[in-house]
């Protein structure tokens, strides 16, 4: 049975990357617990507008867990405590209790400057992709699937790596502000397939160099990233990236 809950929401307000930023809070009354977290924020914004206040800014797009736009740090966890493998948009109010205080913060990392409130600039991830997260060798016209043999396990794992939506939860959770889970997933999705092999060495070096240049931290294997990843990427990808990178460097 659906029930209604009332709670206090503390949300981060910040006018641009240079602004100091502060928390505002608002009492939410009688919110049905089958409301999604983002729908609840829509209700918050309607109430703020009615009160003549400035609405709260947050990123969102598809609202079905595949675009990677939502990026809220809810009660100490990126995307909040959802079912394993879900983004903020798939978090429902039934996960909270009557009388709770819910704290909403942006991804906090030097690599992701705040644009406004909880909307952060994640274009650093695009720059890392532009550095080499693609295949540029000629692979020819589509040929018979059986002509290129790929072990089922590799194909499955490449798909799992490719399911990384680049939301940045890994960076948000990491005490080192490291982007290794993202970069390793994007290197792995191609490294595991024959079409990605010809440029594997170049790709690993270029993407890691760009990641370092953009100021992301050094991975210290705390595993916070894989614990919060909405797409269940694992640090096995990071080991693979280390392998690809070191192999490329030693072959120079």
């Amino acid at each position: 049975m659906a029930k209604n809950i009332s709670f206090t929401i503390k949300y981060w307000k910040q006018n641009g990357p240079k602004d100091k930023g502060h928390f505002d809070s608002h009492e939410m009354k009688n919110i049905p617990d089958d409301t999604s977290f983002l729908e609840m924020l829509d209700i918050l914004n309607e109430e703020l507008i009615e009160e003549g206040k400035e609405p709260f800014v947050f990123d969102h797009d598809c609202r079905e867990g595949i675009c990677g736009m939502c990026s809220l740090y809810i009660n100490g966890t990126p995307h909040g405590k959802t079912e394993r493998g879900a983004t903020t948009c798939q978090l429902y109010m039934r996960r909270f209790n009557d009388g709770d205080t819910i704290t909403v913060e942006p991804w906090r990392s030097a690599g992701f400057p705040v644009i406004k409130d909880c909307m952060v600039d994640r274009s650093a991830f695009d720059k890392i992709m532009q550095a080499g997260g693609y295949v540029s060798v000629r692979t020819g016209a589509p040929q018979d699937a059986n002509a290129i043999l790929i072990p089922k396990q590799n194909a499955d794992e490449a798909m799992d790596c490719a399911s990384c939506i680049g939301c940045g939860a890994c960076v948000a959770a990491c005490k080192n502000g490291s982007a290794m889970l993202f970069v390793s997933s994007k290197v792995s999705q191609l490294a595991l397939l024959p079409q990605g092999r010809p440029e594997a060495a170049k790709r690993a070096k270029a993407m890691v160099a760009k990641m370092d240049e953009l100021g992301f931290g050094n991975c210290t294997n705390t595993r916070a990233c894989e614990a919060v990843c909405p797409k269940c990427e694992t640090i096995a990808n990071i080991a693979r990236l280390n392998r690809e990178f070191l192999k490329a460097k030693f072959a120079e």
Binding site: G177, M211, D212, N218, T220, E226, A227, A239, N242
Partner: protein, 225 residues
């Protein structure tokens, strides 16, 4: 130089120096066990590792490993703090799979270094260093390592400090062991669990060797006494 400029390069340096230091601990732990059974045999090893050229070269190599490991630890931590940004989260929650040691490696490392300073003062300063400079300690001759063990661990304050130090090293290594192998790329879905189990058993065994010597001499129950 990519071992300085690249994040994975820097991590490789941490990993390789760390593995070398674990290998040294293995040797040191095995050597200590001799003192449990025979003071004479232990002193023979001490003589072998006195102010001989090969022991001095090995000591300098070891010191270099430790210094590089420590300097890189501070560089990495400084960079990581910067990457994290100045604004801290108001609310944080630690996921269950994140181990305490993994997030406190620098703090544990600092405790390890403080213990190391005490340890070098208790033993190395009175032994190899005394042999080199000719300054003799009031406790015993420089090559009489067994006497220094009896003297140091006979003092309950030193024994307790050494136990705290060994526990800190144990915590440091429970994360450090598998983390070093993850960094050099020898890990994955299967080897991750293997290295964790192998690491925990291996590190626990080595640290128990050290603890056994401290406890045996603190309570005066070593067979060699």
């Amino acid at each position: 130089m990519w071992l300085v400029k690249s994040s994975i390069g820097r991590k490789l340096v941490m990993s390789v120096t760390g593995i070398c230091l674990v290998l040294f601990l293995t040797f040191h732990g095995c050597m200590n066990v001799v003192a449990l059974f025979s003071g004479d045999a232990y002193n023979t090893i001490c003589e072998l590792l006195g102010a001989n050229w090969y022991a001095i070269v090995a000591t300098l190599g070891l010191a270099a490993l430790a210094v590089i490991h420590i300097i890189y630890a501070f560089i990495l931590t400084f960079q990581n703090r910067k990457a994290r940004g100045s604004e801290k989260y108001a609310v944080t929650s630690k996921p269950k799979t994140v181990e305490w040691a993994s997030q406190n490696m620098l703090v544990l490392g600092i405790i390890v270094v403080l213990g190391l300073i005490l340890h070098l003062y208790d033993f190395w300063y009175n032994m190899m260093f005394a042999e080199l400079t000719g300054a003799v300690s009031a406790v015993a001759e420089p090559s009489d390592g067994f006497a220094f063990i009896k003297y140091t661990f006979g003092n309950p304050v030193f024994a307790a400090l050494y136990i705290v130090w060994l526990v800190a090293i144990w915590f440091h290594l429970t994360h450090g062991f598998w983390s070093a192998l993850q960094t050099i790329g020898w890990s994955g879905h299967v080897w991750f669990n293997r290295w964790k189990v192998i690491g925990n058993i291996y590190v626990t065994l080595i640290m128990l060797l050290f603890v056994a010597v401290v406890v045996a001499f603190a309570f005066g129950i070593a067979p060699s006494l």
